[in-house]
Symmetry: C2
């Protein structure tokens, strides 16, 4: 069993199932609003998963073993099942039903950049498709091991690329692609530094995955998105190595770095990245605020951001998400203890909850907090104190665990996200919510749709949607596809980006021409052809299928 | 005479020669240190400039006229001479000697994006090379109208692309590529907004030029470099249009925007850009500081930047630049009035001058100024009060005017720039200075080399060098090339970027493989081939000549 196998249960999130801890009242509410029958829908047992024979030929296997040794070419049943999917809703539906038909033919674990380079050469020779695999947390089909016309496909497990080199004076760290969030933080924090990147997938996702997908973390309003933290990248491609210069600022033509960042494994393998780091904060202040409405809260968030007074974490739930979060929060949680009477008095009954947080030196946090709070108050915000903040901090990575529990309860739960400018934000929010409610309602599975803002920019913000509906038994994928397509079409029609931080993967690829234009897609294809002439790198991802 | 002809004198900077206002003592110092003979070296008269016949065929001319009308296809002598060069030192040497051999065959002025698109189609058909021309302020050969195997070459004058659309709520403005800095600011400031982008070329350079070259302005530490201000771009290429989505944040794959930003006209023509803007500041505070040495000042600047307490403008001259600036400052200037005795007392005799400035709301400026000042003092800085700041503000665009005056006095004066991380900054500074002094000293023309830091990043800073030497009469270009090559080689060897904000143009193209790797160059070529199959766009720029 390789190191990676310790990390994620094969059919869900986390190391082992946590079970549901939803209060009965919340489940009753869901049952009534979604029309649940009370059906329990557990996952199959691992031994019942259907898996095709590995298609790796003896010659192909020998070529791989030649690079990494026999122990690092693993075509065992469990290793293959564990790399057969990411963690999207359709991924989970397929896994839980025992379908690992698209499993890789082997899992190959290179030791370092040079072994990655040699493996890519061997794979191009042997016509083996390559799926770079970090934490396997993609929710957009980014690690689905598609053969796509190739003889076989391997998952390239990057966990052994775990180097760390720190430049304390320049506040940068050069990190191996295979380090998970906690591994990287542990290495940095022992030197008094932090990357400050905490996406919901933090516990399992890797540095390489962050960079390859332009990840944004929960504190990215303050620390910056991953694409803002990347100073330089090193990548191995079938055509050779590319290393971008880690200069703080440059006018040396188009930025190749920005071609590799976000390349999702289709151009090559990002093996290490030089990232900005910060001194580990000595102070962290998180607190809750309430607003009369989502629009009012968004206006307040715009005001703090455009006054250069944004906190490091800024999250604003809309009315539905606020209601849902309160209903599903564990009994006795801080959120429940919020004085509802007080909010009613302030006209915020049925309003929206926001979480704001500051990290840094004590003086700096207090100074910035004071400025933010003044503006929030001027814009109708009511402080709820630190309890909601502490509660959010404790549960910040809980979303995907809750999803597993809801799946057991016959509930479809999926998230999607976008961003747009401030002018169009509320329009986009309305249209995507409507599209989801209509698409799922038409199928007889009425939807609950909530959303939040979680990243502020001077010119706009992100929108992150969560939607729930009763699973259409046996037609889960079709149901999901209908909802997803309706939401994506609505996002594009409203001028939003097809993804703010989940990336393109397989699921968003059909919308790439809408996102960047047909000619834009062609330019990316031209770059891919130069770096990956045989087309072995992560086939079926990022770029839409070519027109016949 | 087209609108553009009003703007820049044909053989130098600005609308008309300003002449020298150097104090006698400064000129004596230069004379002694550079070994000047007192020779006066004026420019030739415009009527004595040698110019080849336009090579535009009747068919080509007809195709161009067909798109823009006869009045907008100008092959007059003056129009062609005025678009025959940028404003690099070798450009000025050639112009001043009466050499316009590389003039474009015509100057064509499209009205809008659609006319640009039609022109590119016509030029591809007729085998006409196209040089997009904005303010013509390139100092790296970026607008040199090279034929490069094509039948003829036109300068595409973009001044008429002057549209302005403001989204006040999102703090963005969509600006036509042809607007000059002052034109854009006038349009924005009338609405209470500013772009805050003030490069030394501000008076003449255009929005399109800023974007195409990743320009950085004097206040970019605070407002951000142009590449940080660009939200979206629209470009016309020979293969069609590309418009990148103006989303505040996106994870939709590699960023095409970052392929177009910095593309220097070789992929197509940027016709408009959506840029972040800010409320016009109500308060501006600029002041001078003194440090015992360049290294001490750099440490202080690193401290303010890494404490998130950087001012909006932060400039630190090294010892030589400080001495040179004082010697050449107009008699009676504020800089001269600095109490030298006081500085001697503080151990700063022969030290370094810094200019720091804050812009914004009064309260915000005072709050930030107080934090910055505390850290500067803790790091050995001595405040010189507001006079040096006001003096710098008055003369912030004077450099290129002074260059013309020095050229008249037989002095070669050239600038070049780079950036690197904080750890390597002083090493890089030393090596580039040494390389210039050795290269010019070996030719019997001893050099004065000064430098300053003008842009701070958490992980590093820019370095901007100015060097002066006696002109090698008749061998000015060879002399320049030797110095330039020595400096560029030193920059690359020390790990710096070949350019922080001047761009690649023709002059830096040979160093592109050192900057981005051979494979990186090949990827850019692949993108160019897709967008500009005939290779008509700005030939000879950005990418090095292909190996035989």
């Amino acid at each position: 069993m390789s190191a990676g196998d310790r990390r994620m249960r094969w059919d869900g999130w986390g190391e082992r199932p946590r079970g549901s801890s939803f209060p009965e009242s919340g489940l009753r509410m869901l049952g009534a609003e979604l029309g649940l029958s009370g059906r329990h829908t557990p996952s199959v047992a691992l031994e019942d998963v259907g898996l095709a024979q590995s298609r790796l030929t003896d010659a192909a296997r020998a070529a791989l073993v030649d690079v990494v040794g026999a122990r690092r070419v693993d075509d065992s049943r469990e290793a293959r099942i564990r790399r057969s999917a990411g963690r999207s809703y359709p991924d989970l539906i397929r896994l839980r039903s025992g379908d690992a038909a698209v499993a890789p033919d082997a899992v190959v674990s290179p030791a370092d950049h040079d072994e990655v380079a040699e493996l890519l050469e061997a794979c191009a020779d042997q016509r083996i498709a390559v799926v770079p695999f970090g934490g396997g947390t993609s929710v957009v089909g980014g690690v689905e091991p598609l053969h796509d016309g190739f003889d076989s496909v391997i998952a390239l497990d990057l966990r052994r690329l775990d180097s760390v080199a720190v430049d304390h004076r320049s506040l940068t760290a050069t990190l191996g692609a295979g380090l998970t969030g906690p591994q990287a933080e542990a290495r940095l924090q022992s030197r008094g530094l932090t990357l400050g990147h905490f996406p919901q997938s933090y516990e399992f996702a890797t540095i390489g995955g962050y960079v390859a997908t332009r990840s944004a973390g929960q504190a990215s309003t303050g620390y910056g998105r991953m694409d803002e933290l990347v100073v330089g990248v090193r990548a191995s491609t079938p055509a050779g190595d590319i290393e971008t210069k880690a200069a703080p600022g440059t006018a040396a033509g188009p930025q190749l770095r920005e071609l590799l960042v976000g390349s999702e494994g289709v151009l090559g393998v990002i093996t290490e990245a030089t990232l900005k780091v910060r001194p580990l904060p000595s102070e962290r202040r998180y607190e809750g605020w309430s607003f009369a409405s989502f629009a009012a809260g968004a206006d307040a968030f715009r005001a703090i951001e455009q006054s250069h007074a944004a906190p490091d974490v800024a999250r604003l739930s809309d009315e539905q998400e606020t209601r849902l979060a309160m209903a599903l929060a564990s009994s006795g949680s801080a959120t429940e203890r919020i004085g509802k009477a007080y909010l009613k008095l302030r006209g915020h009954e049925g309003g929206c909850i926001a979480i704001v947080g500051w990290e840094g030196e004590v003086d700096d946090v207090e100074r910035r907090r004071s400025v933010t709070r003044t503006i929030l108050r001027e814009n109708g915000g009511v402080s709820l104190g630190s309890r909601p903040g502490q509660s959010w901090l404790r549960s910040r990575y809980e979303g995907p665990y809750q999803r597993d529990a809801l799946l057991d309860h016959d509930v479809m739960v999926e998230t999607l996200e976008t961003s747009t400018n401030w002018t169009d934000l509320m329009m986009l929010w309305g249209r995507v919510g409507d599209a989801l409610r209509v698409a799922l309602g038409e199928r007889g599975t009425p939807a609950l749709v909530g959303a939040h803002i979680s990243h502020l920019y001077p010119n706009g913000a992100s929108l992150y949607f969560t939607f729930l509906a009763r699973r259409e038994s046996g037609a889960e994928i079709e149901q999901w596809r209908a909802a997803k397509a309706a939401a994506c079409d609505a996002i594009i029609a409203a001028g939003g980006t097809i993804t703010h931080h989940h990336a393109i993967g397989r699921d968003h690829a059909p919308w790439m021409p809408d996102e960047v234009g047909e000619l834009g897609v062609e330019v990316l294809r031209a770059a891919k052809r130069r770096l990956d002439p045989a087309g072995i790198m992560n086939p079926g991802k990022l770029l839409p299928d070519e027109e016949g």
